[in-house]
Amino acid sequence: MSCSLFHLAEAEDDRVFEMSDYQGPVARWCSGCGDHSVLTSVQRILTDSQAKPESTVFVSGIGCSSRFPHYLTTYGFHGIHGRALTLATGVKLSRPELDVWVVMGDGDCVSIGAGHWIHAVRYNVDMVALMLDNNIYGLTKKQTSPTTPQGYKSNTQPYGSYLPAMNPLEATLGVTNASFVAQTAEWLPAHLFATLKAAHEHRGFAWVRILQRCPHFTADMYGDVVKDPSRVEMLVHDDGITVPALDKIIEHRVTHDPKDIHRARELAEESEQIRLGLFYRDESRPRYEQTRSLPHHTADEKMAIMQQEFDRYAV
């Protein structure tokens, strides 16, 4: 009974999906907002992988970036602020055959959502988790986020942010059972695409921080970096994320084996250049949903087991 379901979902399918098949209504982000670029990249990946729209679920929190699912034609769950990872865990745990993506803002993921973030990394449930990091609260209009640079002025800290920005890469790499940690930037579409693709192919919890421009509130934040490729350093390795298109543009490169967690943590530290690439990947980490792969019984089989249970309580 319940088994047939999975066959259904796996049934042969001769549909061919174009990119337009994943495009929903016009995205209502500000013009120039980096979220547009991420959306396009994700739509390309869906096309590339011929993802079935009905078997793909995008879960998000609340924020500009969390409007993401509305602009796709897959299933979507626009949840509540900070809790996207919990919803996504529920989806994937109960329907492992679905392809689950999570889209969060920086406030969403590492401020109000910090506890779930740490634990989702630990659970290592197979999904892609994108943190669209514009270093600010966009939707609520320019408040400091944990990743806001120290001294940067916002509406809640108008004399400048008090603390050094949290480095979410380092923190993620500190969590036991982390299995995929990468950083990319939306203004480098080739790198973005390659990173998302690697994340999507990863079996486990793939956490990607995407540096994202918010021209509306922090136009000054990444302006220089975007113009000046020498401000970026790429992590390169045969086992890493390779982006030939950028080989000529980005001169700073550092070879890094994504299996090396110690080096990954060092590289994750603040540095002169912004480092992009795959910091860490380990597909051998236990995945929570694997440890929970459970028998499928028919209702009648369950009835029989249940009678045994009741026998234990019989008077």
Binding site: M1, S2, S4, L5, L8, A9, K52, P53, E54, S55, V57, F58, V59, I62, P69, H70, L72, T73, T74, Y75, G76, F77, H78, G79, I80, R83, L85, T86, L87, A88, T89, G90, V91, K92, L93, S94, R95, E97, L98, G115, H116, I118, H119, R292, L294, P295, H296, H297, A299, D300, K302, M303, I305, M306, Q307, E309, F310, Y313, A314, V315
Partner: protein, 640 residues
């Protein structure tokens, strides 16, 4: 002052030439076994209860749980134990005071006495090794306790339990409980073979040697009692009509969840709800179910909602503080119309409150906790049997009405153990796999039926049904509503579901005459105690009836009409209310019992309330007293 103690076990009383024991015949008898934590009083009582149930007595068992994991030994507040109430009829509640106590030390006993748990003149079987303990402080404590207890008029029988047990085992602390069981078996004339079977079951994970030793201790206690005790108790038994099972309310919820076809339970440990997940932890995976202990209660709610969104039947279990943390997510589930069952095993509040004690004070929070209008279905099981069935009902309602169903159990049901009819399990309760059929062209994810507010769900995997659910105000297509008038309509659709559901409910049956002087209204675990109290006062000739509500939101129809047939209506609840006559309290500013407030607002009937938050289940005798004090003036039989 000299202490008079019935020191049976001394040479004089023992031996052959004994007269036949006095036999006390009674239809209702409560026994407590109290000890330091770790001395196994609970296991003793559980076996005694099971055997009694098997033999045809009505039984209600409730654990006595100290606040700490392992309180200091011999401390007043440290009593760990169990109360078993036996009857010649089904027993529905823990009753009043205890008739017979087996106590392993006098301090825990004293603690029970000071909590008014023991009946005047109760018989106490007490370990008497402390009287001659090497530590003078202990001897002094004993002495002082004896004075207080004797003064109180109990009939105390000292027994050298430890010494006797040491003839069989090395560590008497671990054996006394089986000795006590033997003792009780003799007093109540229980079938020793049945008791031995239960011991085997209880120690099934231990070696045969352990089982044997326990059997031996049982025999020892039985034997000793038969030689030394001058009384026995006889509670007539019933013929069991059909198969019975015996369990506590949390076990019933766990089994109910499985029987209801639930597929995922997400929780975070919290007393007194946690043991539901202990039971599920043991059995759920056999059924293919996932028990997920989340990082906190918020995450537990999120995981359950995510699973339910994905078409699996999911629930979350918690108690007060956890309910508080789930507040925001419940609003999301209501708004997105994702079915969700939430079990709240209520405890004493507010805040951390009384974690192990019973209270019925989450009703208003469940009903009104969410900012904005978040209509939910709320139901409260009244018995352990209903704990089981409420899960099946809750699942169905959650799915049909696409909303949150809150099941309000409480610590009284959670830890109370009683036999009930073995339910006939129906395969259709299981439900099928998530609907994965293609959505017809132009289907809408909230295709609200204008009359009922109902609509079909588009579960991920259904081709053509793709849409994004959102907690933002949205229209039938789940599109964010920029035209905010849609908010009025979608709010109505969510609310309409409750009106539609209420139209399917019947007026609840009145217990007792359909009209009279006073109607006592209750909800949840107090049913047994209230109806027992009503029986008692009706026997005294008072025109009192009761009404028990299973559905709290929406309320069943006909309440106003039922109320109109009584001169006075009053709720009895285990939650806080200001008492009339207290300083500054008047009819206008009085803060009332939770159900009474809801009933007043709904029916405009002057529903009074009698409530207590003493951290224990209500005693029928206390309700009797409350009824008598609250009879409307000029009531026939008032002075009877």
């Amino acid at each position: 002052m000299a202490i008079k103690l019935d020191t049976v076990g001394s040479a004089e009383d023992a031996g052959q030439g004994r007269v036949a024991p006095r036999i006390l015949e009674t239809r209702d008898h409560s026994v407590e076994i109290v000890s330091d934590s770790g001395e196994g009083a609970q296991k003793c009582g559980q076996i005694f209860g099971s055997v009694s149930a098997k033999m045809g007595n009505g039984v209600w068992t409730v654990e006595i749980i100290p606040a700490e994991v392992e309180p200091p030994p011999r401390s007043l507040a440290g009593a760990s134990g169990i109360r078993i109430r036996l009857g010649d009829r089904p027993v529905t509640n823990w009753g009043d005071e205890t008739d017979l106590v087996v106590a392993f030390n006098e301090q825990v006993l004293l603690g029970r006495h000071r909590l008014n748990s023991l009946k005047q003149g109760a018989t106490i079987v007490l370990e008497n090794m402390w009287a001659s303990h090497p530590d003078e402080a202990v001897r002094n404590q004993w002495q002082a306790a004896m004075e207080e207890l004797t003064e109180a008029g109990y009939h105390i029988i000292g027994v050298p339990m430890e010494d006797l047990c040491l003839t069989v085992v090395d560590n008497a602390r671990k054996g006394k409980n089986m000795f006590a069981l033997g003792l009780l078996c003799w007093i109540f004339d229980r079938d020793v073979d049945k008791a031995k079977e239960q011991i085997e079951h209880a120690f099934r994970k231990k070696s045969q040697a352990v089982v044997d030793k326990n059997h031996e201790l049982l025999d020892l206690g039985y034997e000793w009692a038969s030689q030394n005790l001058g009384f026995r108790v006889q509670v007539p038994t019933m013929e069991a009509e059909r198969d019975m099972v015996v369990m506590n309310g949390n076990e019933a919820i766990a089994l109910g969840a499985v029987a209801a076809g639930m597929e995922l339970a997400a929780m975070y440990p919290i007393t007194p709800a946690t043991s539901v997940s202990h039971h599920l932890g043991e059995i759920f995976e056999r059924f293919g179910g996932v028990l997920h202990q989340a990082e906190d209660e918020i995450a537990a709610a999120g995981v359950a909602i995510g699973a339910s969104y994905a078409g699996r039947c999911a629930f979350t279990i918690t108690s007060g503080p956890g309910l508080a943390l789930k507040t925001e997510f419940l609003g999301l589930a209501v708004m997105t119309e994702i079915p969700l069952v939430l079990v709240d095993v209520q405890r004493g509040g507010p805040s951390t409150g009384l974690p192990t004690k019973v209270e019925q004070s989450d009703l208003l929070a469940a009903m009104f906790g969410q900012p904005g209008d978040a209509p939910k279905i709320i139901l409260a099981p009244a018995t352990i049997e209903e704990c089981f069935h409420s899960m099946i009902t809750a699942r169905r309602l959650a799915e049909i009405f696409r909303t949150v169903v809150v099941v309000l159990s409480d610590a009284n049901l959670a830890t109370g153990v009683a036999p009930f009819h073995r339910p006939e399990l129906l395969p259709e309760w299981q439900g099928g796999p998530p609907d994965q059929s293609a959505v017809p062209n132009d289907g809408r994810p909230y295709d609200w039926d204008e009359r009922t507010g109902l609509s079909d769900r588009f579960i991920p995997g259904r081709p053509g049904g793709m849409h994004t659910v959102t907690g933002l105000a949205h229209d039938e297509r789940s599109k964010v509503a920029y035209d905010s008038a849609i908010n009025e309509r979608s709010s109505a659709m969510r609310s309409r579901k409750l009106a539609a559901f209420s139209s399917t409910l019947l007026p609840p049956p009145v217990y007792g005459d359909p009209e009279g002087d006073l109607l006592v209204v209750g909800w949840g675990s107090t049913k047994g105690a209230i109806e027992e109290a009503v029986d008692r006062v009706r026997e005294e000739g008072l025109n009192v009836s009761s009404l028990h509500l299973t559905f709290l939101s929406p309320l069943p129809p006909g309440l106003k009409e039922i109320f109109s047939r009584f001169r006075k209506v009053m709720t009895v609840e285990i939650n806080y209310s200001d008492k009339p006559g207290e300083p500054f309290v008047n009819e206008q500013n009085r803060r009332r019992g939770q159900l009474s407030f809801v009933l007043r607002g709904t029916t405009l009937v002057d529903v009074d309330c009698w409530t207590r938050v003493l951290g224990e289940p209500l005693r029928p005798s206390a309700i009797v007293k409350a009824i008598k004090e609250n009879l409307p003036e000029g009531t026939a039989g008032e002075e009877s």
